[in-house]
Assembly symmetry: C2
Homo-oligomer: 330 residues x 2
């Protein structure tokens, strides 16, 4: 772990020793070396991903630092889950303004510590630098998967069912709630939706259990339809998703009961960090069992088809226009 | 590889496809999946490190983008070299202001491509996000080392020689040159010193050849004495370095010929990205042979001793005071 000179309070080396060294696993070598060591068990390969968050762009400056840390970790764990990998380690870069005191960092580290326990992972190393702002955070997550078992985006086949975990649209609504919209919502619903935006629930248990069942998988970050578009692009297929089959939380359902037209926007909203996958019809029973073992709700929301089009349809099978944000071809 | 919406010009997905996908190795899966796959050969472990650079803090906004990219890569490769690891892959996070056009990114990617060829590495994945500024770059580098062969900081023993590769002080002077100091220096010397600041030369060949020879190693980033202090701290030893033995480039020697008092500052300047290591005296011949094979100059500059003090001495063995910047205990 390296730290640049010139920061406030404890100094970067002191901050590393105080806040980050206690998070380090054996491979992190106490954060006293130039680099970390990672073993990979025989018959396995490592899976790696990196995601960054910028204050004011990806989270609000007023967000609690422990939740910022946990969201940063969890969006990366969600990427590992989407490959079927078990999370193991992470490396962290923090670029923080001098005005961020040790209190902020202590809270940030406490969030990391909590999720390390929940997900069974440890810190390998990182870099702490200063910036005139905004705070910029980048995290590299490392998982393991049996060689060849990894679930990729390119395996979807016509006739596959399209499945999604959890509920869709909560994060989209949660951000609106945090910005002051839906003032008539109950405090419980507001807290639930805001929590879903601030603290995704990466489906690491379910992801690993879908090995051998799912043909293609990714997590929902850009939006359900856009991300299904990614799977279809790489797989060379199309798909149809049924809007009424998209699973909603009780809070989201109470909103659509009053404003039904908003439901289609959940399919494009993003930040859900649920698993979106396709699988042959004859695996449906095993998939439901895997979901039950993982204590995660899953829903069959559509079908993979020949072609290149991703369509959203209503109960009658009529196409719903969701606008250019719904699916960008690139 | 993931990209956030809302950026200028090509759009983030277009930029990834245009500039980054051509850099991806097989494990990067064309940057179309959630994460990358990394195999580790039997009997080896992976070595990982991350370093970040912020515009205006770690490099100048006017620095050519290809050199910024190569410096970002090379400071990380230097960390791998310091463990004796062979570099293999990297992941990249770019947080760029919207004002950075495709030209900047094209030049940045061309720098990565050049160093990929030079060092035999490939891109695994990354994240591209937008920021109100400044540009913030973070790179995770991944290498391989035979299990147990890695060279760590904690192995220095009293009686070891202290060695350093290349020359020390060039980057310190190069930054001053770039800031307009030393106006009387020849254009060649100015270009050489600025180049040493902008483009470190990670000693990846030498680092791997020192396995089985060096007791302890790290790269010189904070400054020769500070980094020797890190080795001594972790090893529980002290050391004495002889100022006249510290190797200088011809350009640096021409400056000290006129201003001899500056030489001591080279030992605290930092950004050298040379290898600093300790080894038993009886390995001196093998070490010189390893350096020759690597086409890298090396110099014996001191001795490891019992105790906890790191001293710089003159030709007569008299201690030279270098001030608090020389060595920070943490």
């Amino acid at each position: 772990m390296s730290g640049s000179a010139g920061s406030a309070r404890l100094g970067e080396f002191g901050r590393i020793a105080r806040f980050f060294a206690p998070l380090a696993g054996p491979g992190g070598l106490g954060l006293t070396d130039d680099a970390a060591l990672v073993d990979c068990p025989p018959g396995h390969r490592l899976v790696m991903t990196v995601d960054a968050m910028v204050e004011g762009v990806h989270y609000l400056a007023s967000d609690p630092p422990d939740l910022v840390a946990r969201k940063l970790l969890r969006v990366n764990l969600s990427d590992l889950a989407a490959m079927g990998a078990r999370p193991k380690h992470y490396l962290l870069t923090t670029a923080l303004p001098q005005s961020f005191g040790d209190d902020w960092l202590a809270a940030f580290a406490s969030g990391l510590a909590e999720d390390q326990r929940l997900f069974g992972i440890d810190l390998l190393g990182g870099d702490s630098v200063s910036t005139p702002g905004p705070a910029t955070l980048s995290l590299t997550a490392i998982g393991e998967v049996a060689t060849g078992a990894e679930i990729r985006r390119g395996g979807a086949k016509p006739g596959d069912d399209v499945w999604v975990s959890g509920t869709i649209g909560d994060a989209y609504l949660g951000l609106k709630v945090l910005r002051g919209e839906y003032p008539d919502l109950s405090p419980d619903d507001r807290a639930y939706l805001a929590g879903r935006y601030r603290l995704p629930a990466p489906r690491t248990g379910l992801g690993a259990r879908l090995i051998g069942l799912a043909h293609a998988m990714q997590d929902v970050s850009d939006g359900l339809l856009a991300d299904l578009g990614h799977i279809c692009d790489v797989s060379g297929v199309g798909a149809t998703v049924s809007l009424p089959e998209i699973p909603l939380s009780a809070a989201a359902a109470r909103i659509t009961a009053v404003a039904p037209q908003i439901a289609a926007q959940f399919a494009t909203g993003g930040d859900d960090y649920e698993l979106l996958f396709t699988a042959p019809r004859d695996k449906a029973g095993s998939i439901k069992a895997a979901a039950k073992e993982s204590c995660v709700q899953i829903s069959r929301i559509g079908t993979v088809e020949a072609g290149t089009t991703v369509r959203l349809v209503d109960r009658a099978g009529k196409a719903i226009e969701v606008g250019p944000a719904g699916y960008r071809h690139f």
